[in-house]
């Protein structure tokens, strides 16, 4: 499949933005200035970006506790995200949600989620809206290998099939749920699960943007055409601890280093597009530089931004009360 130049540039920028955003948070978190829990998406960028490159603002996604990448991939504004993580009034959720609850419904982003398995049922509902309202939209539930075991997830696979909903279930399989390996925690296979519910199963290498983009494109087209749900199983590696502060004593010494060396989606992307003559190094370097500036200014702005005000505490519990 031919990918438009625009899409390539936009996707590279999104992946670079996620990488720099997360690497910067890793550094800033260590200073103690960032409150709460932070889970980094580094190493998994091509998954969120490859999938979301097939979506528009009128499609809906749900994310997880590891949500920054999905937000950026779906077009949520970076400075608003950074300010949110710092708990500032200029944050996308006005400082009331933090890292685990970044959401922007105007972008079709129904939230990161603090509850493992929280997203898949919600995406059945979003898909139902798309279907009943006939707006042509699809819903994509991103969730981890750990979340794939939750009852809410398995029930959603069934419901989406029974109701023939336009949902794509994207299992981002990084091999771990917290400190427990999926070889211990996941019985059977994702493939057999999808087949057991009667839905098509697809899989791809999550460090290869082109593979994700292509496979997700097929899955999304299938759902969009009214053929019911699809499961897309994306194989990935997580480059940092489960959360910032996790020493990862449960992972073999070379595991992350190897992933960084051989499966860096940014390196692989650059190699492919330059060898194929689709983009050149100078263009990509220019994106790198511009992203560096954007992240820097988002951090500076977040640190300087005003705190929420007392009245914010009571605001927005209800629409009307």
């Amino acid at each position: 499949m031919q990918i438009a130049r625009e899409t390539l540039l936009r996707s590279y920028r999104a992946m670079r933005t996620i990488r720099d955003f997360e690497e910067r948070l890793h550094v800033e978190f260590a200073t103690g200035e960032i409150p709460g829990f932070v889970h980094l998406y580094c190493g998994e960028e091509a998954s969120g970006v490859g999938v979301c490159a097939n979506l528009t603002d009128s499609d809906t996604i749900s994310s997880t506790h590891r949500g920054h990448g999905h937000c950026i991939a779906k077009g949520v504004e970076v400075s608003g995200m950074m300010a949110e993580i710092y708990g500032k009034s200029t944050g996308v959720c006005r400082g009331k949600g933090g890292s685990m609850h970044i959401a922007d419904l105007s972008r079709g982003m129904l939230g990161a989620n603090g509850i493992v398995g929280g997203g898949p049922p919600l995406m059945c509902g979003a898909a139902l809206s798309h279907k009943v309202l006939k707006d042509g939209g699809v819903a994509v539930a991103f969730y981890g290998d750990g979340a794939s075991n939750e009852g809410s997830t398995l029930e959603s696979l069934n419901l989406a099939t029974v109701w023939k909903l336009p949902v794509v279930f994207v299992v981002e399989d990084n091999g771990y749920g917290e400190a427990t390996g999926s070889s211990f925690a996941v019985a059977g296979t994702q493939k057999a699960r999808a087949e057991g519910f009667g839905m098509p199963y697809m899989e791809c290498d999550g460090s290869d943007f082109f593979a994700v983009h292509q496979t997700a494109g097929e899955a999304i087209a299938h759902a969009r055409a009214g053929n019911g749900p699809v499961m897309l199983h994306v194989h990935l590696a997580r480059w940092y601890g489960h959360f910032e502060g996790d020493a990862m004593s449960y992972r073999a010494a070379g595991e992350v280093a190897e992933a960084r060396r051989d499966h860096d989606c940014l390196v692989l992307f650059r190699r492919k597009v330059t060898e194929a003559g689709l983009l050149d190094d100078a263009e990509l370097d220019a994106i790198d530089e511009s992203v560096r500036d954007e992240i820097e200014s988002s951090v500076v702005a977040a640190k300087a931004a005003p705190l929420p005000e007392a009245a914010d505490l009571l605001a927005d519990v209800y629409v009307r009360y």
Binding site: G95, H101, E178, A185, Y250, A252, P308
Partner: protein
């Protein structure tokens, strides 16, 4: 006797009871940790906050079970195992995750004994951490003890210090009913002298952490410490407070609360949970009904607003009760008659 943290006290209670009774087993997400990991280490975490560290190493895979992230199935399995001969201690990690398994607690474990005409015993302990103060935001900060207290058949324990945690957890494990044991997440590094041996603290017997003539303060969990801080300051201003730590919300030591209110005539209740139908409301009703004539001033509640827990530090601090708010409430009940006369 030696200084132990809240975390160590809980670990020690689990360890001692597992040594004492082979039917006591442990389960939860990453209670050992590292299984299936590429390093081949087990006991890598001992729970997300290290509370169960070392128990897998001592008791092994026959007694300590890491679970998939499937709260409904493993909490339910713990209930089923409890009804059939084991004495499981299941860790739910954050109490907020009860949303994923409430049926197994509320409709199953809690009701077996009554529904089955007194024929079942369900010696189940569910441990979970609760509370705000860590910027963990709306889905990881709730203080859901009123939810459990509301359900007949459950016992609900909220330890307020390391000493309390050890004695109450051992009691919980030896108890034959389902017990919800709630640990405030901000307290794990709190330290105090804790005996090395096993001891129990009975349920339904409140602890008076101090006694004074003017105002009774009832507080739960971490709020007990804040109430005592406030009481210290008030004492220097000539106001004497009795601070009651009920220890368990179910059963609730009604007598101690009523006796103290009879003595002081004034009541302040400090409750970190959402204010509607919480413990402060429950105890207010009790006192209004049973000790109306003893009251010299309206009851005051130091409670959060009816909102989810906000993320930003400034908002979270506004949300939570603190020593200054408790002090102000005590002064308000002390000044009640003065204001009225003026």
């Amino acid at each position: 006797m030696s200084k132990k943290s809240f975390r160590q006290a809980i670990n020690e209670a689990l360890r001692l009871e597992m040594r004492r009774d082979p039917r006591v087993i442990l389960m939860g997400e990453d209670v050992a940790g590292g299984q299936g990991g590429s390093a081949g280490t087990v006991d890598a975490w001992g729970g997300v906050l290290g509370v169960t560290k070392g128990l897998y190493t001592e008791f092994g895979p026959e007694r300590v079970f890491d679970t998939p992230i499937t709260e409904a199935s493993y909490i339910g399995a713990a209930a089923g195992a409890a009804a059939t001969g084991l004495r499981p201690v299941a860790e739910l990690m954050f109490v907020d995750f009860v949303g994923c398994c409430l049926d197994q607690i509320m409709n199953q474990a809690a009701k077996f004994r009554y529904m089955f005409g007194g024929k079942a015993r369900t010696p189940l302990v569910i441990r979970a951490m609760f509370g705000a103060g860590f910027n963990a935001a709306a889905q990881h900060s709730q203080a859901l003890y009123p939810l459990f207290t509301h359900i007949p058949g459950l016992k609900v324990v909220i330890p307020s210090s390391p000493y309390e945690a050890k004695g109450l957890l051992i009691e919980a494990i030896r108890d034959d009913d389902p017990v919800i044991f709630l640990e405030h997440k901000v307290m794990y590094d709190d330290e105090e002298e804790v005996p090395d041996e096993a001891y129990t603290i009975p349920f339904g017997e409140a602890n008076l952490t101090r006694e004074g003539d003017d105002v009774t303060i009832v507080a739960f969990g971490r709020m007990v410490k804040l109430a005592n801080e406030a009481a210290d300051r008030l004492e220097r201003q000539g106001i004497g407070c009795t601070v009651i730590d009920p220890r368990t919300t179910s059963p609730l030591d009604r007598d101690t609360i009523l006796d103290c209110v009879a003595d002081t005539g004034r009541l302040v209740i400090v409750d970190e949970s959402s204010p509607r139908c919480n413990m402060a409301a429950d105890i207010s009703a009790l006192v209004a009904e049973e000790a109306f004539d003893a009251l010299k001033a309206p009851i005051r509640r130091v409670i959060p607003p009816h909102t989810p827990v906000p993320f930003a530090s400034v908002l979270e601090a506004l949300y939570l009760p603190d020593a200054a708010k408790i002090e102000a409430a005590v002064k308000a009940v002390m000044n009640h008659n003065v204001t009225e006369a003026a």
